[in-house]
Amino acid sequence: MVVRLRFRQDRAGLKPAARTPGTVSATDEELVERYRLGDDDAFEWLVERYGASALRFARYLVRDGHLAEEIAQDAFVKLVGVVRDGGFDPARGRFASFFFRMVRHLSIDRMRARSRAPQIAEDLDPQESVGAPDLLLQKERCAQVREIVATLPERERAAIVLREFDGLSYKEIALALDANIETVKTWIFRARRRIQGSWSEAHAEESRTHGM
């Protein structure tokens, strides 16, 4: 099953990164209902839509690629039971909030179980740097941002990832992170300010380097 990813339209024209994968016309909630009624293909579509997001979100939370794969797997397996038991109620919020909340709780459980201190993970490092100088520069910048994100408090990190990559609204993020909207606003703002600070320093460093 091949599903092309498409980018969600930016709401203020300033956020091209927010996106929702999947080209099937059914909404997430419709797919969940179809799966509950026995359509296994609907579950496959949900995995296609949310597989990469679950892996990424878990990876940013636990900072361990292998553990993130286990968490993503557990999340979908758990989703099977929850949906079959009628545990998802669309009236209480979108599926995305419900699902990412589940991923986050599984991540917290795994981290507690392993009792491992969060590390600046190798899995968050960029791919091997190859290519043109501009591309290398872009990779370096991306690596800088990810390093900064990795140092953020857990829920700030979760909030900015869900916003930047999965395009969740503040309300949806609040549901996913068991918080209120005002708090989510603050978390995202703080995360941006931290990223901006590091970004500005990197730019200043680049300018000095090129000026020499």
């Binding site: 930016d10 709401r11 203020a12 300033l14 956020k15 091209p16 990164a17 496959e44 995995v47 296609e48 597989g51 990469a52 892996l55 990424r56 794969e69 993503a72 797997q73 557990d74 979908f76 397996v77 099977v80 960029p126 791919q127 872009q138 990779k139 910048r141 991306c142 690596a143 941002v145 990810r146 994100v149 916003r163 930047e164 990559f165 609204s169 503040y170 606003k185 603050t186 995202i188 703002f189 941006r192 300010r193 990223i195 901006q196 970004w199 500005s200």
Partner: protein, 215 residues
């Protein structure tokens, strides 16, 4: 509006989370404030750089496979669960039986009831007597039947016909019935005599002297 006051609202504006009124205020401020415009541009650039190089899984097939394998494992485990429960149930039942037997044995050995034991012994004795009497009765009947059968065989061996044997048997039964009747009659007579129902001074009519025998 001061820039510091606007920062949080600027972040909301970047995400399209402002009310129309808030968005208007932000736009008005951005027109006048180069610093806030620069901030917004940096946020956007950082976001784009981050998203552009974020590694994505080349394929979700491994994830699909992992999920499918785990679901199969769970289903297989669920299918075998009733068997495991049944086995556990049998083991538990045997355990209970063994425990109960041990308790009964321990109570019987450690706390014997003298009264109950005596009663049980008497019941066993009575039962034994009854059983012996029954065996005697049955033994007598069996012996008589065997004797009759042996006599019949002997008679047949001696050339007595079946019809003659049946006639002899009827005569025997008649004699037996008459004998029993006479035995009962004698028993009743002896009983009445013993009770004095008959007067010892009374004489039979034949014992009286004949009239005019002395003339």
């Amino acid at each position: 509006m001061e820039c510091n006051d606007l920062q949080l609202l600027l972040s909301c504006y970047a995400d399209g989370e402002c009310t129309p009124e808030e968005a208007r205020r932000v736009r008005d401020h951005l027109e006048l404030c180069a610093s806030c415009r620069a901030t917004l541009e940096q946020w956007t650039a950082a976001s784009q750089a981050w998203a552009a190089e974020e590694p994505e899984p080349a394929s979700l097939r491994p994830l699909h496979a992992r999920i499918e394998a785990e679901l199969w494992r769970q289903r297989a485990s669920a299918r075998s669960a009733p068997i495991r429960r049944a086995r556990r149930g049998v083991h538990a039942a045997w355990g209970l039986l063994a425990t109960a037997a041990a308790v009964v044995l321990a109570v019987g050995l450690l706390y014997p009831s003298a009264t109950a034991e005596q009663e049980a012994r008497e019941i066993v004795q009575i039962d034994q007597g009854n059983r012996e009497e029954a065996m005697r009765q049955r033994s007598l009947l069996e012996r008589l039947r065997l004797e009759i059968a042996a006599t019949t065989l002997r008679a047949q061996a001696a050339g007595v016909s079946t019809e003659r044997l049946a006639e002899l048997d009827r005569e025997a039964q008649s004699i037996l019935a008459e004998t029993q009747s006479l035995e009962q009659r004698l028993y009743v007579l002896q009983t009445r005599m013993a009770l004095g129902a008959l007067s010892p001074t009374s004489r039979p009519r034949g014992d009286r002297p004949a009239p005019g025998g002395g003339r």
